[in-house]
């Protein structure tokens, strides 16, 4: 007898699995809407609904099972060729999925069942499938109608050979083969033989593994699909063969001669479906986070060990320290890779959004996805949903023109929204692009002046003008729509991206389209950093941004005529002295180092007393008190126990610019070029 705790655990597992299935099913339906004759997609949809129904029933989600049963019937009609896929059916199914999602999420809590919506969906489904039986409008809350499909024409009675060999994990995963055989008995008369050859001696027998193998002859009028459906929950965990064998019915001979046998090899996986690697396990996120934290602590302790080993002239200690460093680095790489997930799941969710928005806005839009296998840290992915949703909504509402306007402009009536992701060093670039009307820089500039964000005589580059769109309350939309236009979304996008340590860039071509690029760190937990010192303070600059280190001599300072610039191979590089930035007033050394880094504003140098070298940096959050200190992305503990602040080079440049030259109008400019960002007063 299962305890309440065990029951809750299984229910939770069903809820998680159901949510995943619903996401995939939504994607399948949207693809099916574009490819209505694709029988594979129909099959996928049917199987997904069948799984939800069956698992729901098994784990006590009877409402879910009953409601899904009707959808399953409808798609059974589709796959048997008795019902066509139409946009009406797809829309109805999508609406039903929303209901199922709600039921799955609400299980166990007081029902706020939207019974009226569900009955409405069922009624429409009935009309579509042509079933005469209508649901009663007097049903008690929580009850749903069961739709009986129209009586299907009888198949002739045939003999089927079924070879059923359970895999090693079938019993452990909760499947009882005897129940499957009992279900087969309900389809017709059954003769079976069992092989006990694989049962080992009692002392060697694994009691949780099934060793029996059955060969069954089933005489039934059921079709192959119906027989196969008995094993639908077990097909991944068994070797299953279902083949028609010659029967006494003369007009079945032609069917037999043309019917291929269906074999699934390798414990239920089709050869082409078999994964290259093997099995996966599901791990709670909290455990994964805890594991990564511990690895982070280990990295810190390893740094201390290295530091201590370097102080003692002991070859054995140094050798051990180096080995620990090697293993720690490998463990860190491994733990980081565990957190990395492809962005596919996030991208695919937006197919539904684009579909629904296009319908509501009466526009034709196709969503294309590139680089879906690009991997990011799970935490970054979790935070991306809202920003991307805002960007897509904005694109569809403001960027993309109605079909008639597009045709008048010589464009195809169907617009394209492109979601793409690719790696760029230690960052990932995510782009949301459209081929709509683009952004007019003049309109943006004018709006910014009206809002007091910039002065009327402010000189800005086009990129800087576009960046003004990210300011709070900024919107050039002539009217606020349900979709967008309140000017809230883009500011939220900026905040979320910057909270992740990322940045945004907007490019646009009036009449041709707009592209919003999010630059995000691959991981938030550990980075490769460059450790630097200013007096007794330590800082870390991200190694991914760092280009080179040069010496700043007094001669260089003299040659620059009071400007904070350095001449590097003919190029003028502005620099920020961290000593001045952090107001460290001790005497500076005669020779200083400039770390030249790539920033969003161009190349910029950061002047420090000493560059100490590479440092595996475990990022520690400074907490909400330092939330407004944007130029510090965190802190780390060094090997000697000292704290080092992790700098965000982009924000340091921006902050230095704000300190040096606040523009008239009271509002600091959001983005200014690197040259302007450096103080030009004499040192």
């Amino acid at each position: 007898m299962l305890s309440d705790g065990q029951i809750d655990k299984y229910k939770q597992a069903f809820q998680e699995e159901a949510r995943e299935i619903l996401v995939d099913l939504e994607s399948t339906l949207l693809q099916l809407n574009e490819n209505r004759g694709d029988t594979d997609l129909v099959g996928q949809a049917f199987r997904a609904l069948h799984t939800i129904k069956g698992s729901g029933s098994m784990f006590g989600f009877e409402e879910v099972a009953a409601f899904t049963h009707n959808l399953e019937n409808a798609y059974d009609e589709v796959r048997n060729g008795r019902l066509e896929v139409t946009s009406e059916l797809v829309d109805l199914t999508l609406a039903a999925l929303d209901q199922i999602k709600t039921m799955v999420n609400q299980a166990g809590s007081p029902a706020t069942a939207d019974t009226a919506s569900r009955l409405d969906i069922l009624e429409k489904l009935l009309k579509l499938t042509g079933t005469s039986e209508a649901p009663s409008s007097h049903e008690a809350p929580g009850e749903t109608a069961n739709i009986s499909p129209p009586t299907e024409p009888q198949h002739p009675t045939c003999d089927w050979h079924i070879h059923f060999a359970p895999g090693p994990d079938l019993l452990r995963n909760g499947t009882d083969p005897l129940l499957l055989i009992r279900e087969l008995r309900q389809l017709g008369s059954l003769r079976l033989t069992v092989s006990t050859a694989a049962i080992p001696p009692l002392t060697e027998l694994d009691p949780e593994r099934c060793y029996l193998v059955w060969d069954i002859v089933l005489t039934t009028s059921a079709g192959r699909d119906e027989i196969h459906d008995v094993f639908i929950f077990a097909e991944d965990q068994c070797d299953l063969i279902i083949e028609l064998i010659p029967s006494h019915v003369a007009d079945s001979i032609a069917v037999v001669q043309s019917a291929p046998s269906e074999k699934t090899g390798g414990f239920g996986r089709r050869a082409e479906d078999r994964a290259a690697g093997g099995s996966n396990i599901r791990v709670p996120t909290a455990k994964l986070d805890q594991f990564v934290d511990l690895v982070g602590e280990l990295v810190t302790v390893q740094a201390r060990l290295s530091e201590i080993a370097s102080r003692f002239e002991d070859a054995d200690l140094v050798a051990v320290s180096e080995e620990v460093e090697r293993l720690t680095s490998a463990l860190r790489e491994n733990s980081m890779s565990i957190r990395m997930l492809p962005i596919r799941g996030t991208f695919e969710r937006f197919r539904r959004l684009v579909h629904d928005l296009a319908r509501d806005l009466k526009k034709e839009v196709e969503l294309t996805i590139e680089g879906a296998d690009t991997e990011l840290d799970k935490t970054v992915i979790d935070q991306l949903n809202d920003p991307l949703m805002h960007l897509i909504r904005n694109s569809m509402d403001h960027g993309i023109e109605p079909p008639a306007a597009r045709i008048a402009a010589g464009k195809p009536p169907a617009a394209t929204v492109r979601l793409s992701a690719r790696h760029a060093g230690a960052n990932v670039l995510i782009e949301v692009a459209d081929d709509g009307g683009g952004i007019h820089a003049d309109a943006v500039r004018q709006r910014a002046i009206e809002k007091g964000i910039i002065a009327s005589d402010a000189q800005l580059t086009e990129a800087e003008i576009f960046s003004l769109i990210l300011s709070p309350g900024f919107s050039t939309a002539k009217e606020v729509t349900d979709v967008s236009g309140r000017g809230v979304g883009m500011d939220v996008v900026r905040q979320r991206v910057e909270a992740l340590g990322g940045s945004i860039q907007i490019t646009s071509n009036p009449g041709a389209g707009t592209c919003v690029t999010l630059r995000l760190p691959l991981t938030l937990a550990i980075i490769d950093g460059l450790l630097v010192r200013v007096d007794e303070a330590f800082f870390v600059l991200p190694l991914a941004n760092s280009l080179e280190c040069i010496e700043l001599t007094t001669q260089d300072i003299a040659n620059s005529n009071g400007r904070h610039v350095a001449y590097v191979r003919g190029e003028i590089i502005p620099y920020i002295r961290l000593r001045d930035f952090f107001d460290i007033r001790t005497e500076r050394p005669e020779r200083e180092q400039i770390m030249i880094a790539e920033t969003d504003q161009g190349r910029c140098g950061f002047v420090v007393d000493e560059v100490l070298g590479d440092h595996q940096t475990v990022i520690k959050n400074l907490g909400h008190l330092y939330k407004q200190v944007h130029f510090i992305s965190g802190a780390t503990i060094l090997g000697n126990g000292t704290l080092a602040l992790i700098l965000d080079p982009n924000r340091v440049v921006l902050d230095a610019a704000r300190k040096s030259a606040p523009p008239p109008g009271g509002q600091p400019s959001a983005h200014i070029g690197a040259k302007e960002a450096v103080r030009l007063d004499a040192p």
Partner: protein, 108 residues
């Protein structure tokens, strides 16, 4: 308790009652091994509410083979509940697993 081993001077009896399934399979195997190693005649009695799943049937089958190999007497005792009969039929080992013991039992 769904499984109990009753050992007397020359006879061991495994009593199975309620659901005997994968959750009790390890315990059942342990008791069967213990019973077989005693070398005594072994009986299996299934209570009126007894239900056996495929894990139990496999273990009993393996025990039957062990008994046959050592010349030990093994078999079911008493009436088998309907659910057990169905399970034996579904598994296809209904008449192969039981041994005649005294007045009752089916051959294995």
């Amino acid at each position: 308790m769904p499984i109990e081993l009753d050992q007397q001077e020359s006879l061991s009896t495994i009593h199975l009652d309620g659901e005997v399934n994968i959750s009790s399979a390890v315990e059942l195997r342990s008791l069967l091994v213990q019973a077989v190693s005693s070398g005594k005649e072994l009986r299996v009695q299934v209570g009126s509410t007894g239900e056996l799943d495929v894990t139990a049937l496999q273990l009993l089958w393996a025990t039957a083979q062990e008994a046959k190999g050592t010349g030990m007497e093994f078999g079911f005792m008493g009436d088998l509940p309907e659910k057990v009969l169905f399970a034996l039929k579904d598994a296809g080992v209904e008449f192969k697993m039981v041994q005649p013991v005294g007045d009752r039992g089916a051959s294995c």
